[in-house]
Symmetry: D2
Subunit: 270 residues, 4 copies
């Protein structure tokens, strides 16, 4: 299978670029399945039902979230009726929505997508390792699922790399999100799991993690807020990873994807 | 000028690879100046005088540090007599050593290197922006210095990107360290400063940020330490950035460098 | 001298109780000087000019702030024209207002009040120890000032106790604020400085640190906000400390004060 | 019933005072049940089997722990064979020992003791509210237990107060530990649960949270460690709370206890 995972969409710049490019990518890379992190899609904070629809229409199969899941209150309702939108699995029992979803690709292949939230320098949630374990134990690769994708939304590189090794040999891809910067450490881990510490954002890289830089700079230097954070509106670089899996669902290849905007362009050769 | 900056050396694996490759790189890339972050060079924790000597002998001009500066107590003494070894500039007044150093390259060019420590999710130090401002104001690009390199040792991508823009047009390079994962966002910022969020480590990437993965995984899943962190001993990938500057000291080009080990290899074309 | 320091006023409940009781206290305890922390006076978040006036009218000589200093934007302006309102001294240079103030009591005695913000589990500011050192060095007890009061607004008990010992013998009183719970460790330290880890809040103790308990409980258990924090409106307990100093400005006595509301009542004997 | 809970014993000073005073207290206050937090009993860090024995011999019925539970490795083994020693209930499944214990008092009354660890500014564990809920649901007050004591070992006053209200009407006592400073907010909450935000430590209060003050002060001012933390050896103040319950196990009275050392002495009248 050919899988694409794109990192956190930030605001209008990221959305517009994604909607424009994803149909092309889907065709040219002959993609079987596309997952996109959408936690910053709505003005930099959260996601709405209408934006979900736009992203699905552009060719996404599943949307994942993160620490900004509920910034738009309507997501708490929308997630209950949209099985392709998931939030971190390690929220407490009773949280709206679900932390994993098993979706059938156009080819008929079953893809399990799991979303987890790191705890280092982040919120106090249940253990992400235990949460991911539970999901992949309930639907193992090669049995319940033909491919498994884990979006590890986390701050610390250590926690993300640990999740990679924790899942190695048991899932197709562990990819990090949240830092809004793509990492250059794509590799297939020893057990056959594709891994990259962060997918990077889909947003304007002439910014501070996708936001207009004036207010972040102001806060860092004066320690006093003087306005809101606003998404930067320059051209977005779409960032993510492309993965190919074998018949057993393990990875044979992982390649970075960077399209548009300021970053060095890269597309997998097909 | 042609500058090379390599990220955190982690343990023996990183040191051995660096000592073997740096002389070759220095020659083949016709480097004028080399800076290396050495905060994890001694068994993963700190640096010693002997290790400094090895790194300088291999071709480094300046060594920077970070939150692990003093893990080896002898560094507190050694730094006083080694002007080419610097620690973060935003330690309090009275801290041994210095946070910036002006070094003359073989070509006669004067290069100012500044080290700063981020505060988001890190230690309580003085303001890194104020500390960097003070250093570059005292020795401006094109006046006191022919090139200026800022090592922003920090956890949060936001704080690193903010430092990039803060210095943009006033220094040759702002590069992050500490995350131990190279980022893929190398760019020349609008004002002419080369920038990459993290240089990545010089260490074994089949690991958790350079450390043998068993103990980190144990701690993440059980929350109870059962041993020490040990540097992973597999072959290192040397990670860093290559920068070319113009006559005014601003950047015309920044390219990633990744040599050896598991990560995708990349070297600037010359 | 007879000094009174009262902890964080939280919302209307705290304000009303303070305005009603302070004139009585001032008279009955024959107070020479009164300092009040007002960082939560305006609906739980920050302070306004009008509220400052009410607190001064009730008998306060100086109002201190903390991490909520700027929650009401007008405080940034008001603080510039109100020398009796101070904010933490370890904000960066250029911050509106000042971190210390020397005020003449009705008796003619000069009282220096210093406000500092802790860094453990709090914001990234400059060093509070260095900031306090600077203020008390510039206006030493027995020379520039007849009494010195330090409000150490901090989360960690360790940082507050350290500030007590740091100032011991050099100031009249170090008292903590911010935790919104009075501590029972009032003592005169070996060098003659009165100390209590936290003054406690002036607010309703049938609450979560002064706030209506439903929303805090909801957030702790579900990890999802479902509304705003609102000050609890039950009767406030006014909490603080009473200190007597000798001719040299050192403390001879420190006693807790708790008036009204749910907590056990205590008033110094006179 | 008459219950006594004493806060974190810190080092030799705290142990010696406790062993000397507890038998007297037990007799004079006619105590039915005694719980002591012992997480810092062994040189300030953790606990050993021998120290547990000393504390039990002096008259404790149950010992609780906290974030320092495993500082002495032998505790991981000892806790398995000592049912009266408990660690926080919200450690992951599989952690040695247990998070709650039901013990029969000499009178035949059954007392459930639950230990939980806060997550604000602390370790990433499972939800303490959920963990406590599970324990008190399994052994409800008035049914499985004649009294229930919850030791909420936490940093933030907000999280401790929230736990008080969360348990109100369902347990006899919620008392905080960890801050090493007694609070002066003892009260019976509206539903009948006795509450105090922190019991305070049993240790030397001429210190920084029980430790010799030089090294903490050094670290706060220089940001560089220059030695180990050592328990202060001056006379300890034993700090805790005394609670009386009615036939249904709810509280009718809570009083602070402070014996010896520098703090103001207080003992409940009997
Ligand atoms: Fe994001
Ligand atoms: Fe995020
Ligand atoms: Fe490092
Ligand atoms: Fe570091
Ligand atoms: Fe406050
Ligand atoms: Fe505060
Ligand atoms: Fe403790
Ligand atoms: Fe503790």
């Amino acid at each position: 299978m050919k899988l694409l995972f794109m990192g956190d969409i930030v605001g209008r710049s990221g959305r517009d670029a994604l909607v424009a490019e994803l149909p092309v990518l889907r065709r040219e890379l002959a993609l079987d399945f596309v997952v996109i992190n959408g936690e910053n899609a709505a003005g930099g904070f959260g996601i709405t039902g209408a934006i979900c629809d736009d992203i699905f229409d552009a060719g996404a199969d599943v949307i994942t979230l993160g620490n900004h899941s509920w910034d738009q209150r309507e997501a708490l309702v929308h997630i209950e009726r949209e099985p392709r939108l998931i939030r971190p699995a390690n929220y407490p029992a009773g949280t709206p929505g679900r932390g994993a979803t098993l979706v059938e690709a156009a080819s008929g292949a079953r893809v399990l997508v799991v979303n987890a939230l790191g705890r280092v320098f982040m919120e106090a949630l249940d253990c992400p390792f235990e949460a991911v374990e539970k999901q992949i134990a309930a639907c193992p690769l090669g049995e319940g699922a033909d491919a498994i994708i884990v979006d590890m939304h986390a701050e610390a590189t250590s926690e993300k790399m640990a999740m990679g090794h924790f899942c190695d040999g048991r899932v197709s891809l562990v990819v990090g999100t949240h830092s809004h910067v793509p990492t250059a450490d794509a590799q297939v881990l020893p057990g056959g799991t594709a891994y990259q510490t962060d997918a990077g954002m889909c947003g304007d890289y002439n910014s501070v993690i996708g936001m207009e830089k004036d207010e972040p700079l102001n806060r860092f230097t004066t320690r006093i807020p003087s306005g809101r954070f606003q998404p930067a509106l320059g051209p977005a670089t779409l960032c993510g990873v492309f993965v190919e899996t074998d018949a057993g669902g393990l990875a044979t290849r992982i390649e970075p994807v960077r399209i548009g905007g300021r970053l060095k362009q890269v597309l997998p050769e097909v």
